[in-house]
């Protein structure tokens, strides 16, 4: 997957490029608007990540130029202002998603992945991670054939982590997905839920699957 990052702030551009390439993307970086537009026109990218505030040619101009050319390349834009006008403007111009600075890199990664797999892939009925098995239809979970006794919310949390196995999920995202809660992220509420889940899913077994990613959130994966 080839991604173009148009960002004039050198540090931001550098960590975006590094982080994305380490997650399997091929990255080109443009630090000026006109270079960015030139690249976007000449190379077939799977995604363009666009900073709105750019020298010479700003993000909006690039976005509208790309869409005028009839290119359907997905665009995710980054803005420092979360004023409604700015957010709406980007979407109206044809962007696919946006992020407000400061954002968590894991959040960006999640958005990028969700844009790229937007073609709705059917959720599997059965999820397997190591010896963990989740039957999404019947709401049943087991490890090594041993049935796990989970509450509905615990099952929802586990299946979210399992579906996104290998992907670090933030507490805010988890609260939104599992409890439909708009959550400040200031308290340790999600940690308590995860702790309870661990006591049922991980503690009785030798191989731990739910891991804490410091400063980010949680990931479910098989670690050697």
């Amino acid at each position: 997957m080839r991604v173009l990052v148009v960002e004039d702030e050198p540090k931001t551009a550098a960590y975006l490029a590094k982080g994305l390439s380490e997650n399997g993307f091929v990255i080109d970086v443009a630090t000026q608007g006109d270079d960015g537009l030139h690249l976007a026109r000449s190379v077939a990218y799977d995604l363009v990540i666009l900073d709105v505030m750019l020298p010479i040619l700003d993000g909006w101009a690039i976005l509208s130029a790309i869409r005028r050319d009839g290119m359907g390349t997905p665009v995710l834009y980054l803005t420092a202002s979360d004023a409604v006008e700015d957010r709406v403007k980007g979407l109206e111009l044809g962007a696919d998603d946006y992020l407000v600075k400061p954002f968590a890199f894991s959040e960006l990664l999640a958005r990028v992945r969700s844009i790229l797999r937007r073609s709705p892939a059917r959720q599997p009925d059965l999820i397997r991670v190591a010896d963990l098995e989740l039957d999404v239809v019947r709401h049943r979970a087991s490890r090594g054939g041993q049935r796990l006794d989970l509450t509905p919310k615990e099952f929802a949390l586990l299946s979210l982590l399992a579906r996104r196995s290998g992907e670090a999920l933030t507490r805010t995202f988890i609260a939104e997905q599992v409890w439909d809660m708009n959550f400040d992220g200031d308290s340790n509420v999600v940690d308590v839920h995860v702790r309870r889940l661990r006591s049922k899913v991980d503690d009785p077994f030798g191989l731990k699957l739910v891991h804490t990613v410091r400063g980010v959130g949680y990931v479910l994966e098989e670690r050697p």
Binding site: A104, K153, D184, D186, V189
Partner: protein
């Protein structure tokens, strides 16, 4: 969550700039104008009274003459010669006032008259004869001399001598001169009065306006550095006292919000200092000597946590700032409060049970609300988190909701330690913590309740906290429901 209403401030400053006359000039004009008008009226009246009393006096004199003539006629019946003599004598009369007498016969011709009278005052220059004594008429000769004259008809006695009427006139030249003199003096007085009125008016106006200048001067002097200064109200007239007091009240409020703002910036700086200090210190120490990858990972993870804290704080501050903007409007939707409280409870249930605190929802029936759901969750969540944090194991936190067509009332009560009365008025202030040592134990930075209040106010509602130490705390949000649109 938010939308902005685009309302331009109406700018019609032309209305306020119609007249640029200074207040002093206006007051001066009014004072001078009205004082002068009064003086003018007074002098006019005096002049009128004088000329009227002169007229009366003259009429009296003329009536005397007529009586004398009548007496003479009665005594000297038929003796026209004697009558003539008598007339000449009478006319020369007293007081050096030249008067004229003429007897008119039945045919309308003059039978006898003061010598030279017909040259000045011919018969027909008199008004028609009247039958008794009455007001005379002003006569004016061709050469501009002024007379007062009267004609009286004789209907009895002497009329038998074929005398039908008598015409009497007197010279008024002296009186005219007197009146003209008087007029000249009056004009002089009026001229001086006008000047004096204008000058006096100007001084009175200046005096009256001086306090306004002083108020303006004080207002001009006031800067953020001397917001404590106030307009001296001693000696101000009542009308301006109200103005000055209003102005001082405004300064009080400004000073308070200014103090709050600067305390707020100081608080922000202070709150930012802690995470940044952590970041910096950890990185410095970590870079101090070579370490294992795990140690580095640990430091970076901790750094990330501090960054998260910073980002959340900025989010909260931005939220508060935006909520304070009067143009901010929220997008409402209808939902069932009981269900929403259930969602919140489900989310906090694990944290509550870990803290040994019971968490329950008591909602009788369907309580609808028209609010922003995400904001409502956030407000209730903050209250619940706060309640759990302040309740010891074995206690309970209870959520209740009631409502009708006009409002929704949500209550979060706990059986916790309570808040001392001295802290109660401040718990909704930003960064306020009743117990400074607790600081971030529950992860918050002291913005949670401030956000609750902002959310309540965004919905046009209020939030109140009552508390008793050792008994527990009760937070009540009362949120009006918007009237259905037609």
């Amino acid at each position: 969550m938010f939308s902005k209403s685009a309302r331009e401030p109406s700018s019609d400053s032309r209305l306020h700039r119609r007249s640029s006359w200074s207040l002093a000039a206006r007051l001066t004009a009014w004072y001078a104008g009205s004082a002068f008008a009064l003086i003018l009226m007074a002098t006019g009246f005096l002049y009128w009274a004088l000329s009227r009393s002169l007229d009366r006096e003259d009429d009296q004199l003329l009536a005397d003459r007529v009586r004398v003539v009548r007496d003479v006629l009665r005594n000297r019946l038929g003796d026209l010669e004697a009558i003539r003599r008598e007339i000449v004598e009478t006319a020369q009369g007293r007081l050096n006032i030249q008067s004229y007498i003429r007897l008119i016969g039945q045919g309308g011709t003059a039978l006898a008259e003061t010598p030279g009278m017909s040259d000045i005052l011919p018969v027909d220059s008199f008004p028609a004869p009247i039958s008794g004594p009455g007001a005379g008429a002003d006569l004016r000769t061709d050469d501009g001399r002024s007379f007062r004259g009267v004609a009286v008809r004789f209907e009895d006695g002497p009329a038998k001598n074929a005398i039908a009427a008598v015409q009497v006139a007197m010279d008024r030249s002296q009186e005219d001169e007197l009146l003209a003199d008087y007029r000249r003096n009056l004009l002089l007085v009026l001229g001086v009065a006008l000047a004096v009125c204008a000058v006096a008016g100007y001084h009175i106006a200046r005096r009256g306006i001086r306090p306004i200048h002083e108020i303006a001067e004080t207002a001009r002097r006031i800067r953020p550095t001397n917001l404590g200064e106030r307009i001296a109200v001693g000696g101000l007239p009542t009308e301006l006292l109200a103005l000055a007091e209003t102005f001082n009240d405004m300064l009080d409020r400004l000073e308070q919000s200014f103090a709050r703002l600067s305390r707020f910036s100081a608080d922000i700086a202070h709150e930012l200092r802690t995470p940044i200090n952590n970041l910096r210190g950890e990185v410095e120490v970590a870079l101090g000597r070579p370490r294992s990858a795990d140690e580095y990972r640990d430091v970076l993870g901790s750094n990330l946590e501090e960054c998260g804290r910073l980002a959340r704080m900025i989010d909260s501050l931005l939220f508060l700032a935006r909520a304070e903007n009067p143009q901010t409007q929220i997008i409402r939707e209808r939902f069932d409060v009981g269900r929403e409280l259930g969602t919140v409870c489900e989310f906090y249930e694990a944290a509550a049970s870990e803290a040994g605190v019971g968490l329950n929802v008591v909602v009788g029936g369907h309580v609808p609300a028209d609010m922003n759901r995400a904001l409502f969750q956030r407000a209730v969540g903050n209250l619940v988190a706060n309640a759990i944090a302040h309740t010891s194991p074995g206690g309970a936190v209870t959520l209740t909701a009631t409502g009708d067509e006009t409002m929704t009332k949500v209550e979060v009560s706990d059986t916790g330690f309570g808040i001392p009365a001295s802290h109660l008025p401040h718990v909704f202030d930003r960064f306020y913590r009743a117990d400074p040592s607790r600081s971030t134990a529950f992860g918050g930075v002291g913005l949670g309740l401030a956000i609750v209040r902002s959310i309540a106010e965004l919905h046009g509602g209020v939030v109140e906290i009552t508390s008793e130490v050792g008994q527990g705390t009760r937070a009540v949000m009362i949120l009006p429901r918007p009237a259905p649109r037609r």
